[in-house]
Symmetry: D3
């Protein structure tokens, strides 16, 4: 809608900004795989490895901080490759992840470099994990700064790409209300394989499979008699903090 | 998404449910004209003529109730024709419009007959006009009843078409937050002509033109550098009470 | 602000719409006494006597329904006279008070007759007493209908008088947030005497005295160093469902 | 806490008020079975059989209205017996279930007869099914009326029993936030057997099993290192519209 | 209400705290001109020049940072003089404006120095511009600190002046609900001239003229038959984060 | 519920985290005295002495900062001893109390050391005092960090103890809704004596006595005919940011 250049348009670009190494897989793996399957470019900005807050098992096994970071990094890279995306690590330190002007500035750089058409991040509230809102807060702030020609960072200013908040672990406790249900049935197997790259969190494989089925049921309940939908539909839920721009109501 | 028949699919169908004769023009004329311009079918269910609550000028001129209904009906039919839609009058009596099971049942009939792919109606709150929420309440209730095979009404059960709330006169006082901004630039002249069919409310022509410009500015602010958008973009704002179903985040 | 007649303007008029006979005393007695003390006219529309839901003591004493209504009526008339207001009883039956088009229509008549400059009523939520929201709902609906020249009722149409919701018994449970703190110190003794007219509810005399003191403390906390305020300031709290119209921010 | 009689106290009593025949099984079967397992009395007031809105399969099989009611009644009675509760049918007609003073009055009778210590019902919002809010609205109204000595109904007035809203099918869309997580692990097998009494809705057996597991995971995340909790904990989620009364914070 | 001194009271004082150089003109120019026209003192604390985030045109023209600051300063000073107010620049740096204890402390100084009777600032939410909430947050924090005798800053402690949030660019997206509508008709020409001092943002002159008309329409809809109001009424909308203190409901 | 050790369980532990020296007395003195009366351990983490923001009288008397801290400390220690609790001072500086990673880290230490079964703190909003939300924010953040084995602090990781927000001075302005009403009648005299240790704030003794009575009235209104409750019941109100975990609905 917004590009009018004569040169061939670059492929659409998606920027995913997450707090910890595993977040993009559980919460947005379907959206990522779908975009990649359409030939689009997906970049995941991972602010931390989740080395302190999301690696309990490794700590109990006596691993060191650096070992844990390495394990998490490797798993995340494998999962990203499975989905067809590139992952970039900011190594900003988790638990707590602190929102700072410096880290926000690095994200401005990521926006200007990737020129995203779509942005995915955490919702702004999560009483169970303060790192998630901190990441989301910086993701939104950096998106606004990156639009300003007066902001001193490398690269071209960006437009105002739509933002989608992916689903947190305890949605009702985070004020999360599904506003968009994305049909991920055709890439479901890919998402499942990406989840299986995260070996330490095997208990979540089935948990997020169940969630995808449940969101699929909701998708069907909001889509009529669904004659054309398969018996099992898999879906992911998102919120939109900004209004949808459209040329047709549907 | 939901039909799998071998027979050629019927054109998409939009059902607009409003309290008073003029509502569909000011608030949703752009969406109606867009759908009609794509060859779709649009049916407007007008629950009342707005004969008591929205015809102050005619009352001051000493017109009778029946005369006023006649004027309003004629104006609305002209406006609907201009937009490319059909309007059906329920003549249920306004100020107050009462939500009753009988009127809701008539709306179930309208749903089953028109088999809508999209539904437009008022938002559920309006401290300035109780008829609007009453119409919206019945529109939503009837939509659910029309889905049930056990509900005794003529026609086929319907699916679960998306619902859009159009913008009320004082949006902030009605809890209205733009969730969808619809680009109506290409049908703007048609909407303006339809507004001009409502002769008694000439002061609103410019008011709603200004609103369309303002929503257009918002549309551009949510769409990036908008290289491809015209200098003046016209838009209408909507809310979604149900989640969007989609195969792609955009 | 709104009258421009040559004849001497009538005194300002306040219309208080309540569910039960005692409500206006506990919740708005200060505002009523203040208006009366300025020579204004105050009319209290009492939809029921509170004969079933707010007269437990009399029922336990074995009184009949008619006896209870008589007691409540007499008490309310004495309290109204003490405050300087007139009370009108609608005898619509409480517990439950039902919101009906007929009763709403009688309220339209009251609006047109009293031509209020100010309207006081209950808030719209009260999980402890459904009669309160029912009264408030009808008070708001009737106010809108009374503005329409097309609505068939005796008397002149009214303007759009400001509405104030008075404080419910359990404010936090009713979504009540003090938006206006009214200084009632100068009429405090009058309000106290009016409360003492309600002999059967003696336990509430001190309860509502304490409340007035507490709201007075809040008033002082929102008014600066309050050099000019007396040691004990009495106040009542209100909400505004419609915006304040003003010529000066203060 | 509230009874001081010399006669042996009657067993605690729970009153469950639901719109349709199956609701109590899916949504509150665990709470019912737990209460019954403690020797308490549980009464389920089923306002309708769900004959029109929740029996699509039977309608498609060509069953008559009376046949469908009979099937639903039988299933519900079997499920209630499995849980250890009694079910009472009001046969008020569903889709739509209308909130009327008469039906509310019948519920007042149920409150006075069962003298509940705990009340369970639907939440007040559900955009997918208007019968649920209608039932909840009447359940709350009748509870207040039943407390008033002046309300003319058989039986003793009741106290102010705590109310719990059970979980709707699409919690986030109904404003449902888990405020109480009830551990139902010890009666899980009973709930599962009760669900299996509802033969026509076999697809929901696993759905609600998954939900119980997920709520169990949440329960553990809100309960610390849960050394004492079994690997799989089953739970049900509830909301409280009224404050909890307690003698100890825990 | 709060001063009891024998010396002649100083003129009333208004403190306006804004993020960027132009904000006070578009959003509160009418309130400022009104106060000035009554002989009151108005001080505008401008935290930044808006040099990075609100000066796109100048950046595109290749101006340097210092040049841009100079232009913005000059324009703002001219606009302030037109309105009859004094403007003070804090030059704290925008995009992002960071909320710091040091900057908050400087604002405490401004409060103690100006001893405001009224405070105007941005609302606390704005998803399109993080500088606005940062300014508002500091404005509110500093107001509380300036009230404390124990806070170490020059000047006398202040009272608790009422605060008004002025209208953001996209009100519905910022949770902005008009709670006060200020009639600015008599100073409208002054506000228009002040807007025209901001040469670089000519497209906003008409935008904010339209807004003033629209808020004027709302003002009339909330003020009855408005016999005394001119055909075109201009207004500004505000919110109140603290309760209104009053001696009369109106 | 969560400990399964063979060694005798330690007594239950409560951790109270407050901004200023007096807060725990006014707002949670009853809960503290109740826990202590059951033989449990209560630790109060006082982040500041309230030396700047809550000691106006002493400043007016010309006391120095250190003198004021000393007075506040002594009073608080006396009050804590009266209630049966231990108080720990962090001396982090008030007005403003700044939320920092360092102070949060010290609170993590307090969590790991006290291993609380219950946590009490301020609510997250207070437009009259920014120190309260800052303390609450850190209390919640530290609780999450203390649960993570990867967070580098002394002591054992903790579970997920329930959190209760105690009542702020102006509850309706802080979004405070009583979700738990705690009966403190049996320790009322102790709480009153603890309040009387705070000599400089004598005007609050009666204020908080009245509040306890009012919350007691609410407790009775939510507890039925309350045959067993004393004529005067004293109560404190709390909110729960996390769901209640229970084995029985009551």
């Amino acid at each position: 809608m917004t590009h009018d250049d004569k040169a061939p348009a670059p492929p659409r670009s998606t920027l995913v900004i997450t707090a910890h190494a595993g977040d993009f897989v559980w919460r947005a793996g379907g959206a990522i795989a779908l975009a990649a399957s359409r030939g689009e470019r997906v970049t995941i900005a991972c602010l931390t490895y989740g080395e302190r807050g999301e690696s309990a098992k490794a700590w109990r096994q006596g691993k060191t901080l650096e070992e844990i970071k390495g394990i998490r990094r490797e798993e995340a890279e494998k999962a990203a490759a499975t989905l067809g995306a590139e992952v970039v690590f900011f190594d900003a330190g988790d638990y707590p992840l602190l929102a700072t002007p410096e880290l926000t500035d690095r994200l401005v750089g990521a926006y200007r470099k990737t020129q995203p058409d779509v942005v995915l991040t955490h919702p702004l509230d999560d009483p169970y994990n303060g790192d998630h809102p901190a990441a989301a807060r910086m993701a939104l702030d950096a998106r606004v700064l990156a639009q300003a020609i007066g902001y001193p960072a490398e690269g071209e200013v960006i437009g105002a790409p739509p933002v989608f908040f992916f689903e947190p672990h305890q949605p009702e406790m985070c004020g999360f209300k599904p506003e968009v249900l994305l049909d991920i049935t055709e890439v479901w197997e890919t998402k499942r394989r990406a989840m299986e790259c995260l070996a330490a969190q095997q208990h979540l494989w089935d948990y997020y499979t169940d969630l995808a089925v449940r969101r699929g049921v909701q998708l069907k309940r909001n889509a009529g008699p669904n004659l054309g939908l398969p018996h099992t539909t898999y879906a992911e839920a998102y919120m939109r903090p900004y209004p949808q721009i459209t040329a047709e109501l549907a």
